[in-house]
Amino acid sequence: MTLIGLFQWFDNSWVGMTIRSSTYAFALIECFHLLGMVCLLGSLVAIDLRLLGFGMTRVPVTKVASALAPVTWIGLTTMIVTGTLLFSSEAMKCYQNEAFPWKMIFLFFGLLTYFTIHRWITRQDDSRIGPVWGKLVGFLSLALWFGVALAGRAIAFV
């Protein structure tokens, strides 16, 4: 299947067509997409700030990360489910949109970072996290996830 074929499949899907034809569905799903973003970015900002040496410095990194992991997961799951629904309803619009591929690139690297180096470093004891590594991962994570948000917002404008 070609890339355009995939986008067309989503666009022609029953879910996509149902959302498109409804007056309120898109706005309602967007509400949940935004609430998911608050969970995802809120928890990641708190964790990444801690990696950068700010915020909850009296609590060990491992504790901050493990306590907030469910919040990150709720946010991530909500965003991916609602995001897929929103995408289905305007897949062909996204195909032609200049911001959409950027959002996907940021999302890919955001997820890659989260499940590899971010996961690894937030499971280390504070004393074992090098001063540069923690800051680097925290910065990278913040940059990528805010990149997703910025590019996502731009989809509606470009």
């Binding site: 609430l35 608050v38 809120g42 708190a46 909850m56 907030l68 919040v71 731009a154």
Partner: protein, 164 residues
């Protein structure tokens, strides 16, 4: 006496018109509004989750809530000032939007809740911050804040769609 003429006047001022009609300004301000929202409400969420005892219940509340405050307020200032500019550009439209009125009501309630919390329990953290289980008033403030902000975001999103 209705406020509509006043809101129409705001919208038709030179600044209101230029924000609304600019290709770049409106999207940029909207983007700042969303980034501010992610920062402020994101960190308010963490604060509220601690107040209610849902996350990090074993940690001292002061160690969680206080260090997040500066960035939370920074995010709030970004969100509030960009929101004011968006309102400036679309004041009359907002006036006619029922969703916008609900948004303002819940924003006010969230503000009053935070103000009440800060002026009573918030000031006296030494008295309760070492405890694992917070006083019921603190937990209630956390729940009220969560509900208010979910409503503000939802009605805010709804306002944008009603306006189109």
């Amino acid at each position: 006496m209705t406020l509509l003429p006043f809101f129409e006047w705001i919208q038709d001022t030179a600044i209101g018109t230029s924000i609304r009609e600019s290709i770049f300004v409106f999207p940029i301000v909207e983007t700042i509004h969303v980034i501010g929202l992610a920062l402020s409400v994101g960190l308010i969420l963490i604060t509220d989750l601690r107040l209610t005892g849902i996350v990090m219940a074993g940690e001292r509340p002061v160690d969680i809530i206080r260090p997040l405050k500066v960035l939370m307020i920074t995010g709030f200032v970004l969100m509030f000032s960009s929101g004011a500019l968006l309102f400036w550009a679309e004041a009359a439209k907002c006036y006619k939007s029922p969703a916008f009125r609900f948004k303002m009501i819940f924003l006010l309630l969230a503000g009053l809740n935070a103000l009440y919390f800060e002026s009573t329990l918030g000031r006296n953290t030494a008295a309760w911050s070492a405890a694992t289980v917070l006083p019921s008033r603190a937990r209630l403030a956390g729940w009220l804040s969560l509900i208010c902000w979910i409503a503000v975001i939802s009605f805010g999103r709804w306002t944008a769609y009603g306006l189109k």
